[in-house]
Symmetry: C2
Subunit: 372 residues, 2 copies
Amino acid sequence: MEVIGRHKYELDTPCLLIDTDKLEHNLRTMQESVQGAGKNLRPHAKTHKCSEIARRQIKRGAVGVCTAKLAEAEVLADRGIEQILITGPVALPLKAERLLSLLERCPSLMIVLDNSENARLLNSECEKKGLRADVLLDIDPGLHRTGVAVTEALETGSMLMELRNLNLMGIQAYAGQVQHVRSYSERCDKSLSCMNEVQEAFRALKKAGMKGRVFTGAGTGTFDIDTAVEDLTDLQVGSYVLMDAEYREIGSADDDNSFALFEPALTMLASAVSCNQNGFVTLDAGLKSMYKDGAAPIVLYPADRAYSYDWFGDEYGKISFDGEIGGLKPGSIFELMASHCDPTVNQFDYFHVVKNERVVDVWPIDMRGRSQ
Amino acid sequence: MEVIGRHKYELDTPCLLIDTDKLEHNLRTMQESVQGAGKNLRPHAKTHKCSEIARRQIKRGAVGVCTAKLAEAEVLADRGIEQILITGPVALPLKAERLLSLLERCPSLMIVLDNSENARLLNSECEKKGLRADVLLDIDPGLHRTGVAVTEALETGSMLMELRNLNLMGIQAYAGQVQHVRSYSERCDKSLSCMNEVQEAFRALKKAGMKGRVFTGAGTGTFDIDTAVEDLTDLQVGSYVLMDAEYREIGSADDDNSFALFEPALTMLASAVSCNQNGFVTLDAGLKSMYKDGAAPIVLYPADRAYSYDWFGDEYGKISFDGEIGGLKPGSIFELMASHCDPTVNQFDYFHVVKNERVVDVWPIDMRGRSQ
């Protein structure tokens, strides 16, 4: 089916749409905001998993892009994108072969370390190949998922400085636990409290001789908060570019009940498959397309009355409404904002890119499923 | 990385494994059980999304295979598999072009209908192309997801009989609401009660002149229960072939606390990425690999003590344990039984097929992401 030029509501379902005007609005707004605060942008590609969007982020001024996994970084490198930071520790020796091969063809790659034994293994693998790897010390700002404790940062960082085939470029600290705190002022307090502790550790490392000046962290929920951390150099925001119901629900600097600075660029189209019940119809999008995590998906279209979505098994959803069924029948189209954008995107192969409601392009989600 | 011949615990992670002996045990056990009860097997490919497994199901004696979606059926048809039943209603006119094209090249395709207007549209599309489509009337046994009410079955079925380009082959009724009822006796009562009501409607349709004799339904949870429904011809069981934590937890005929007749053929390998905390390590498998739905995933390896898994964001999991960290370090391997097999399988591109713990084959999950 040739899709270019079609109206979005004539597409087969379920599928993902990106509204290009909203996407560009989000790209521009974040770039200007972060740059205006004197920081750099290093957006996270784990959200969109699409090298075309990564390319646009760099074109607008990002200093690089982040991936969560080695396999995602391999895709970006294949597409000619450099300045990649893999934000999750890469375990050696398990992944040594793939990591060293990527380092060889993409020398600007940065990775994070939070374990001395892994650091020594990487150093000796690099030595064998005559490579030097750019690394960041991953510091745990309280999420307790990865990173060394703030109190261990100086010791581990000093050890890294002694490894001759590693360049310690600085530190990373991602406070995932504060990104979705609803109250903006509470989010401010929590994020600045933990990020300022990390900053102390960063300053101690510099005093101890660390040459690297990178201090990377933050997320969409703290994009205008962590800029107050003086030494922070760049922000790893991800969801802002697509947005989802989960982020729309938190408070923002302007409004403690909504986060509307970034627009819902990502939506999902689905259609009714069965309409024999009172008060609801069955949709063709269930667990395998609308990932079940986070806030309830928001029904954006039709807008004639309030509709709500709930999951109804692997392949089905339930669209509920008050009153009569009206004109709904099998094939009726619904447009929804995803509950949680990252894992939902990861269930599709393409974005249908829409401008003024018509499809203008199709972008492969080329990092989809790259979970290794 | 050449994987054939490798020990399973030397594979990169996260990845999915299928133990071929357990798979064959499940295939054989189900085929024998259903055949022994005088019924046919029409297993559901939506679970495994792998044409190689569908081929094995047919080879063992299945009369056909089910898919949930048109796009899955297209893949099976491309692989030369016939006798496909699409168990979800296909909405016209939205999907008319794809459906008619598939019907043309796969005349043994069966689809279900639960809407008169859609039936008329299909009939007229078939007429234009000189085709006759084999259809089943989808009857709702109480799940209220798809299907016409039992009380409407005679009227809608009679209408279908009058449409000259449709062959009414019989009925479908899937009681999804009873499959995971924990108590076996309660599951028996509930399933037989609703399936016997459907049987009455089936008999009324035959009395009214329906030639078709297909009465298809049931799932893994009622595979040895619905065989008592006299007119039921075939069982659409899906999960039995792979199994998951959700199904292992329900009761069975032999034991009201476990369902162990089918073996956990599907497992996921993951590895530790960060080990700096007390009482848990961070794993490289989160929402995007272990789908968050159903029962808690079960940690099968290592077996030296009890470990439990919990989700820890999009890309991470948390493995908790009592006591010291012991030998765990970045790269330590864990093998887990999936929470809910269907949506977890849908997040991967390959099964690594293992025999005696070594990889003997790699099967593409070629229906992965085919949600349309």
